[in-house]
Symmetry: C2
Subunit: 455 residues, 2 copies
C-alpha cells in the first residue's frame, strides 16, 4: 500500500491523489442498489493522458486492480470499487477539444458532462443525441462505458452510434488509437465499437471522437391516455408500422403517473392506466402528431392532448424525466430493471410485469422507452423489511427471465455491471461467454481492469 | 485430398460439392486486380446451417483453410481462394426468413442478394439502405463481411448500422448467436459489430437480423457543374455545414464524366471539371435542392440543373452508377482505390490525387461519395505494359499514403482483403495490430478462416 502510493505519487501531482478513507469511501458505489462494493485503496483524479498511463503502468507492475469511474450515475454497479483497488476517476479530464461543424464531429475528453457537450454543440447548430436521464451529471466516458441511451433512441439510437474513434490507455499503460474521424471507415476489426459498452473492462478511454448531427427543429409532443397497457402498446405498434419515426415515444403506467403527480403536481391524468407521450422534431410536427393522434384513438385512447407549443411539450417531457425520482419516493428503496423486448412483444412484457408485481405483492411502476421496447420496471420496496427485500430481488429476476423468454435482452441501455452478471451468462450462452472472456484476456491478461464486472 | 472429399461428402448432398478443377478455378478470385489467389481444393455450396457446421468441423479436423464467398463482387481480393482451400460459397443459402414491419427487422440468410432484399422490404413500405454499386449481384453476407457502403451513406451510413444480430458458425463448427432482434441492447461486448467487416476471418455468418427503416419519399436530385474540384468540395463543405443531410452527395471528375458520356451518351456536361450530384428524400426535396443550388452557386458552380422529376433524377444517378464501368473502358485494367478523408480535407485529397496522376503519367478518374469524404480514384492502365503497371501500383499506394496523411483511412467501404493488408498495418499501428491479431486468435486459433487476408 505504501509502495503503491509512493509509486503513484512519482507521476501525479499531490492533488490528484485522495487517500483519506472517509473521502475514498464515498467513491465506492454508483447509484445501483444491492451491488457489492469494496473500499478503494486510493482514488486518483488524473488530468492528462500521461497521468492515466502512469496509473496503469503502476497498477500493472504492482498487480493492483483499477476501477474506472465517471460521475457514478450508473444503475448496475458497473463503477463500484473492489476491495483495495485504485479508483481511476476521469472527471477532471473534462475538456472539449474540438467541435467541427463541417466534419460534424466533436473531440472530447472522457470527463465532459453530457449536458455540457450537448449545449456546446448546439451553439454551432449541432446536436449530440444521447440523453440518459442523468444527462446533467453523467460523463461522456461513462456513457461510452455503458453505451447509454435515453429518450432519443427511438429515432437516434444509443451512444454507440455516435462514437467514431477512441484513444484508450490499455491495462499495461500502452496507448491505443481506434477508429477514425471520417464519416466512414472499415479498416480491420471494429475495436471502437468493442470498447463502447465494455464497462471499463478493456481499457481506459481518454479521448473520443464523436459524431454529431444537425440540430433538428424543436420537438412537439402529445399525450394520450389509454384504458390499458395493451391498448397503449397497440398504438405504439401502429405508429411504428405506419412508418412514423417519432423523436420520442414513451410510456408511463398508472403507478408512475400517480407518483409524478404526487411529487410535482404536474396535473397528469391520475386515473389513466397508461399514458403515452409522443414527439416529433420533423419539419411539420403538428401534422405528424395529428396522424399519431388518430392511431392512438383507433387503438382505444380515451383522450389525446397535443401540446400547444414547445413549452407545453417540455412540461410533458419533464413529467417523464421525473418518473424515476418519483417512483423512488414510494418506498425506501428501488431496483430499476432495464429489459428490452421486440416492440411486438411489449404488451406481453408489461402485462407480465404486472403479474409479477401481483405475485410478489409489490408495487412495480413501469416507465418505458416504448418505441424501443425498452422497459424500466421499478421495483419499490422497504429495504429494512427482509422478506420484502427478498421478494423484490426475486421479482427483479423474474422480470429479466420474462424479457429473455419474449426474445429480449436483460439490458437495453444500463449495462450489466455487478447487478446482472449472472444474467449476462444466461443471455449469451456458453459459446458467447467463452469468446467474450477470450476478448477480455486479449486486452487485459492480468484481469486488472474493473474486475468482477460483466462476467 | 481424397480424405477431405470423403469426409465432406458424409454431411453434404452430392450437388453441394464442386471438384472439377475447371469449375473450381472460376471461384479463385473476386473482382480486384493484382491480388494473389490459389486453386481451391473444392468448392462447397451448402444450403443449411448444419451443412456449414459440417464443413467447418471437417476443416478443423483436417486443418484445411476455408475461404467464405458471396457473389465475389469485392474489390480487395478478400474472397480470393488460397491454394488447396475449401471455398465455402454461401450463395445457395438465399432465403429471406422474415420481414417484420413493426419491429422493423428482416431476418435473412447470407446468400440473399442485396437488391432482392431491398425490393422485398419495399413491398412492406420498408427500406434497407445499403446500396453498393454491385447491389444487383452482391449478397448480404458479402456486404456484412466488408461492411459495404454505397451512395446512401451520407444520410444512412454503411452496412454496419443495419446489422442487429448474427448466427455465426465458428471455425470449429460451433454455432454462436450474437446481438439481438430488439431496437436496443448492450449486454456484453458487441460481437455483432466485430463480425461486420471482419472479411470472413472470424466465423461464417449463416443468418442475420437486419434493421430496416420506413421507406422515405422518392429522392429528387440536382447536378451542378464546377470549374474545379476545389470549388465543388467547397460546396460540399457548405452543404454539410449548413445542416443539410442529402440522401446522396456524389462527385464525378472530368475524366469520369467524359468516360460515362462516351459509354452511354448520357449528355453530361463534357467540359466540366467536377460534377456534383445531390439528392434529397425529404418531405420537400425541391426546397432543399433550391437551398443547395444557391450554396453551389456561391461556391462557384457555373451551372445548376435540378431534375424536373424522379425519372430525371434516376437518369443522373444512373450516370453515377455507370462511373466505374465507364472508367474501366479507358485502358485494359484498373485499380480502384477507396480512401476516405474528413470532408474538410476532400479538396486536398482530390488535388493530391490529380498531382499523383501527373507525376506517374497516368489517367486516374475519380468518383467520390463526396458527402462522406470517400473517394474512389480509379487508376487506368495497360496491364500488358510492365512499366505502366508498376506506375499504377505505385500511384495507388501514394494515394493511400496521401489519405492517411490527411487524417483519413485506407478503406471507407471496400475492405482490406489482400490488396491493402500492408497498409492496414500502417493505419492501425503496432498496438492496434497486436490486439486485432489477438482477437483473430481467440476466434480462430488454428488460423483456418480466410488466411492471408487483412493482416
Amino acid at each position: 500500500m505504501d509502495d503503491l502510493l509512493t509509486r503513484l505519487r512519482a507521476g501525479l501531482p499531490a492533488e490528484a491523489l485522495l487517500t483519506d478513507p472517509d473521502v475514498t469511501a464515498s467513491y465506492a458505489n454508483d447509484m445501483a442498489s444491492f451491488c457489492e462494493s469494496g473500499a478503494p485503496a486510493v482514488v486518483v483524479l488524473p488530468r492528462t493522458v500521461e497521468q492515466v498511463r502512469h496509473v496503469m503502468r503502476t497498477a500493472t507492475e504492482l498487480r493492483v486492480p483499477v476501477v474506472p469511474q465517471g460521475a457514478r450515475t450508473g444503475l448496475s454497479g458497473g463503477a463500484n470499487a473492489s476491495e483495495g483497488c485504485i479508483v481511476l476517476s476521469l472527471v477532471k479530464m473534462d475538456r472539449i477539444l474540438e467541435i467541427n461543424p463541417v466534419d460534424r464531429i466533436a473531440v472530447v475528453e472522457p470527463g465532459v458532462i453530457n449536458a455540457v457537450l450537448s449545449r456546446a454543440v448546439a451553439e454551432h447548430g449541432l446536436y449530440y443525441p444521447p440523453d440518459p436521464s442523468s444527462w446533467e451529471m453523467c460523463t461522456i466516458g461513462g456513457n461510452i462505458g455503458t453505451a447509454s441511451g435515453g429518450l432519443c433512441c427511438v429515432k437516434y439510437g444509443v451512444t454507440a452510434e455516435y462514437v467514431l474513434g477512441l484513444d484508450v490507455v490499455l491495462a499495461d499503460g500502452r496507448l491505443l488509437t481506434t477508429g477514425r474521424r471520417t464519416a466512414k471507415g472499415v479498416a480491420g476489426y471494429d475495436l471502437t465499437r468493442l470498447f463502447v459498452g465494455s464497462e471499463g473492462s478493456l481499457g481506459i478511454v481518454v479521448r473520443a471522437v464523436l459524431a454529431l448531427r444537425p440540430q433538428p427543429p424543436a420537438q412537439l409532443a402529445l399525450a394520450a391516455e389509454f384504458p390499458s397497457s395493451a391498448a397503449a402498446c397497440e398504438a405504439v405498434c401502429a405508429i411504428m408500422e405506419r412508418g412514423h419515426t417519432p423523436s420520442l415515444l414513451e410510456l408511463m403506467d398508472r403507478t408512475t403517473v400517480q407518483a409524478v403527480n404526487k411529487l410535482a403536481r404536474m396535473g397528469l391524468p391520475d386515473t389513466t392506466e397508461a399514458l403515452l407521450l409522443c414527439a416529433f422534431d420533423t419539419p411539420d410536427p403538428a401534422a405528424d402528431l395529428a396522424a399519431v393522434g388518430e392511431l392512438c384513438k383507433a387503438a382505444g385512447a380515451t383522450e389525446v392532448v397535443p401540446a400547444a407549443d414547445t413549452a407545453e411539450s417540455e412540461l410533458l417531457l419533464q413529467a417523464r424525466r421525473l418518473s424515476l425520482t418519483a417512483l423512488e419516493t414510494i418506498k425506501s428503496a428501488t431496483m430499476i430493471d432495464d429489459v428490452c423486448v421486440p416492440r411486438t412483444r411489449l404488451a406481453e412484457m408489461l402485462d407480465g410485469t404486472a403479474a409479477v408485481a401481483r405475485k410478489y405483492g409489490l408495487t412495480i411502476g413501469v416507465c418505458a422507452h416504448a418505441g424501443d421496447g425498452n422497459t424500466h420496471p421499478v421495483v419499490c420496496f422497504d429495504h429494512t423489511d427482509e422478506d420484502e427485500s427478498r421478494r423484490a430481488r426475486e421479482s427483479f429476476d423474474e422480470i429479466m427471465a420474462l424479457g429473455l423468454a419474449l426474445g429480449g435482452t436483460i439490458t437495453g441501455e444500463h449495462g450489466v455491471g455487478v447487478l446482472k452478471k449472472d444474467w449476462l451468462a444466461r443471455e449469451l450462452g456458453p459459446v458467447g461467454l467463452e469468446l467474450q472472456r477470450g476478448i477480455k484476456a486479449t486486452f487485459d491478461p492480468l484481469g486488472l481492469l474493473n474486475p468482477g464486472k460483466l462476467f
